[in-house]
Structure formats: C-alpha cells, structure tokens
C-alpha cells in the first residue's frame, strides 16, 4: 500500500506511519513465565487478514488497521475503543 488512512487526518503517504505489530491480548496477571514468554516472543506468523497497531508520526495517533498481509491491502482503519468501520476504499 502507498497510502494509509489515519482515522484523525485522512489518507497520508505510508512513509508517515510506523508499524506497531499485531494487536494482541496480554495474558492475565499471575500467568506463568512460560505464558509470558509466549506472549512476549511468539507471533501468529502465518499470512492472512490481521488487525495491527499503526502510529501516525506527524499527529502522534495510534490506531488499528485491518490489513491483508499477503496482498498489502488495507481493509479498514479505526481508533482503538471505537467500532471498526465498513471496508476502506483507498
């Protein structure tokens, strides 16, 4: 993708953004060392559609993006805490 839609500022060149990795849920407090290591290091790895953290450097906005990581196609972007919108058309 060459453009990414910041939920606050609209479509911007992808060079203005930093990739923050897949959105993942921390294990609960009191988990074992092994469960914690699994959360810290292990990844889903396989291709597909993923929900990711992205950061817009110019505005300091952290947001979610739903992206097909095989074809580099962004499906939707939205702020954390809000509901994901309908499919994005860049």
């Amino acid at each position: 993708m060459k453009l990414l839609t910041c939920p606050v500022n609209g479509p911007r060149p992808v060079s203005e953004f930093v990739y923050g990795g897949e959105v993942r849920v921390e294990p609960p407090e009191g988990c074992t060392d092994r469960e914690w290591a699994d959360h810290v290091f292990n990844r889903s790895g396989i291709p597909g559609v993923k929900i990711e953290w992205w950061y817009h450097m110019a505005s300091g906005t952290w947001f979610h993006a739903k992206r097909d990581v095989t074809h580099d196609r962004v499906i939707a972007t939205w702020l954390p805490g809000e509901a994901p919108p309908a499919e994005d058309t860049p």
Binding site: Y19, R43, S44, T70
Partner: protein
C-alpha cells in the same frame, strides 16, 4: 566439422549432461523429507547423503530449485559477528566455503574481497572495536581501521558521505567474500542428487502428519509420503510449516528488497556495509553493483519490490559514491525474511519428535549455507543438536536466553 558435431549430438554415449534427475513420482516412504530446495535444504541433503549414509531422502520444493531466498540475497559471506556462539558458527561456515567449489567441481565465483563495516559515529566506532576484539579473541581476522584505510581500499568513496555523517572508521574483516548464490544451490543439489537424493520441484507440502507427538508423514500436492523425519528449511514460509505441526515460534515475515545496476568495469574490490546509511554493496563477477538495505518495516508475505526502496537506496549510494549518478538500476526484487527477536536463527530439534527446524534466517542466511548443511545433517542423522547450534534452539525464547546478534546481523534497526 558440421558432420562431426551432428554425430556427437546424436550419440547415446555422450548424453546431454543434466545437473539433477527429475524423478517421475514420489516414493511411498523416505528416511527423511526436507522441505525447501534452497541452499540450506540441499546442503543438508548433501551432507546427510555424503557424511551420514542417508540417501533415501526427498527434497520437496513448491517452486523451482533455489527460487526462494537462496536466489534473492546479496551474497555476502563473513564471520564478523558479535557473540561467541555466533562467531564460532559463522566462522566454520567461512572455512567450509573455501573448499566448496573444489568439492562440487563447479565454479561458485567465490571471491575473497575484504569486508568493511563503516562507522559514522563515535558509538559505532566503539561497537566496531568491540566486534574486532571479540573476533580476534576467537581467532577471526577482524580489526578496527581508520578512514584512510577505507579510502585506500576504495578511492572512489566520498568519506564525508554528503556531509552529515562522515566515515570515522570501519571494522575491516579480511575473509569477507561474495559468491554466485544460485551456483551454491546447484552445487549442493547436484552433489545430493548424484548420491541418490531425490529433488522434487513443483511439489508443495500441504500438511505434516503428526501422531502422538511424532512425525509420521507429509501430505504433498503430488501425494502422501511416509517418513519419520522432516526438516523444514523454507525461508519466508516457516510459519506456514510450523503451523502444520502446531508449533508456535517468534518468527515474523518482512520483505527484504535488493537491486543491481548495469554491469560496469571492475572498480569496487571490497564489500562495503554502512550501518548509518543502512546500505551494503559489492561488485559481482558480472560487474553489477549488488545492493541492499534494511527490511521493509511491516509484515508482508510477498516478494514485490517498490520504487521508494530503489529511490532511498540510490540516494544513500550517491552519498558514498557521487560519481554513480548516471549508473542505471537494472533489476530489483525481494525475498521474504524469517525475522526473529534476537537476529539469530532457530535451528535443531523441536518438541515434535522427528520435526527439525532450520529457520529464522532473516537477513543473514546465505553465508551460513555450508555450516547449516553440516550441523542440520548431523542433527537429523543423530536426533541430537550439533554443538555449534545449541545456542540457537527454539526453546531459548521460553527460557529468556536470547542471543545478542542484533548489532552485527543486519542494518537498519
């Protein structure tokens, strides 16, 4: 004369030589199945057949031989790493490289050029000094040199690098070399094939049969094969394979792009790497400048390459070599890199009996091709990790025992 040639062509006692056989069908059973006919997979097959007497082996390749990252890297061979386990491992590889062309009776265009890792800041100079001392302590030829040594080796370089971050020194590694990447796959492939190993291209692995925690067989696009041993050596596709056996790993996939210029008269003898400019360059036997930079900054399972990569790399190349402004970029491409959190590979036995991993090779796999073959073949044949790869086990993450190779393995982080 024409008649002699025709007779020769039609003669059955001088058949056209082929690099490897193309077996018509898969057998029902193999003693071992290797997934991936790249440098690592074929090297493992070669040493398994040559040194461990295991010849009933199939190497399965979904595409064409050497078409994965073996055919896409920037061919640099070196052992100037940062950790004792890394240095020991890569240095064994450098040693093996030196006799490889003779072993194969094949020209690998292996060329010892000398390797400079340029330092543009004081902290970088300190890191280079640290690496030089670790290397020297372990018997590897590396030293810290000043900018005048860089200029002497490469008179065309602009030491000021456009003014912002001038070259203050470099880690000079005399054994640094380059080689023809495809030839290594062909050499190992032919050697394995001559010893009875079967190479099956256009054969995709669709599933791995695991019963009671132990490998039983492999489902492929051309049928099912039974085997007690599977070695996965598939850069860029590792997560898909580990998913088949239910293994979780830290591996994440990012593209790594590269490009070459048109061929030129030989002018660059050395291999240059710049941590600040995030680029590396060498001049191949064909006269092309082979260049690379850092990973694409996000996960992507694709070998597409981009214009902004070429623009960025070209701009940094011009900082070092302003005279190249008229040189033309001939070709660009990408590979899919198996990245790990500590920039070291994941090798050896796994919790699944009979399933062995040669993965996590990120941006540092080509140089390790021979030592990977040696250590993985030992590991598969003996069902025991080779001593040189003990530090690279999959279990190191759950034990918080990562290696510290980030500073020496790659650029651009």
């Amino acid at each position: 004369m024409a008649y002699q040639l025709l007779r020769f062509a039609a003669s059955s006692s001088h058949p056209e030589p082929r690099m490897f056989r193309q077996p018509e069908r898969l057998r029902e059973t193999y003693d071992a199945v290797i997934i991936g006919a790249g440098g690592h997979g074929l090297a493992s097959a070669y040493y398994l057949a040559r040194d461990h007497g295991m010849r009933n082996i199939a190497v399965l390749e979904r595409g064409y031989l050497g078409g994965g990252n073996t055919g896409r890297n920037t061919t640099i061979i070196r052992s100037n790493y940062l950790t004792p386990e890394g240095v020991a491992f890569y240095d064994e590889s450098v040693r093996l490289w030196q006799d490889l062309a003779t072993d194969f009776d094949l020209n690998l265009f292996y060329s010892n050029r000398g390797h400079f890792t340029l330092a543009h800041t004081d902290s970088a100079v300190r890191t280079m000094r640290w690496r030089a001392e670790v290397n020297k302590h372990l018997g590897v030829d590396s030293e810290l040199v000043g900018p005048e040594a860089v200029k002497q080796a490469c008179p065309q370089i602009d030491l000021s690098c456009g003014g912002e971050a001038p070259i203050l020194g470099a880690l000079y590694h005399a054994p640094g070399a380059i080689a023809r990447h495809d030839a290594v796959a062909w050499g190992y492939g032919r050697g394995a094939d001559q010893r009875g190993v079967e190479i099956h291209q256009q054969t995709e692995v669709l599933g791995i049969d695991v019963d009671g925690g132990r490998v039983k067989g492999v489902k492929t696009s051309r049928g099912y094969v039974s085997t007690p041993r599977v070695l996965s050596a598939v850069a860029g596709f590792t997560p898909r394979v580990t998913h088949m056996v239910g293994l979780r790993t830290p591996i994440f996939i990012h593209p790594l792009q590269a490009m070459v210029t048109e061929p030129m008269k030989p002018w660059l003898d050395a291999i240059l790497v710049s941590g600040s400019l995030h680029i590396y360059v060498s001049q191949s036997a064909r006269g092309e400048l082979v260049m690379g930079a850092s990973l694409d900054p996000y996960e992507l399972h694709s070998t597409r390459s981009t214009l902004d990569f070429v623009e960025g790399l070209a701009a940094h190349m011009l900082d070092m070599f302003p005279f190249l402004s008229h040189a033309r970029v001939n070709r660009q491409w990408a590979g899919m890199a198996d990245m790990t959190p500590d920039f070291a590979p994941i090798m050896g036995k796994t919790p699944v009996e009979g399933f062995y991993l040669d993965a996590g090779w990120g941006t540092w796999g080509f140089k390790a091709t021979p030592v990977c073959g040696k250590t993985m073949s030992y590991t598969v044949a003996n069902d025991r990790n080779h001593p040189l790869i003990e530090a690279f086990g999959l279990s190191r993450f759950e034990n918080y025992q990562l290696t510290g190779e980030k500073g020496a393995a790659s650029v651009g982080h």
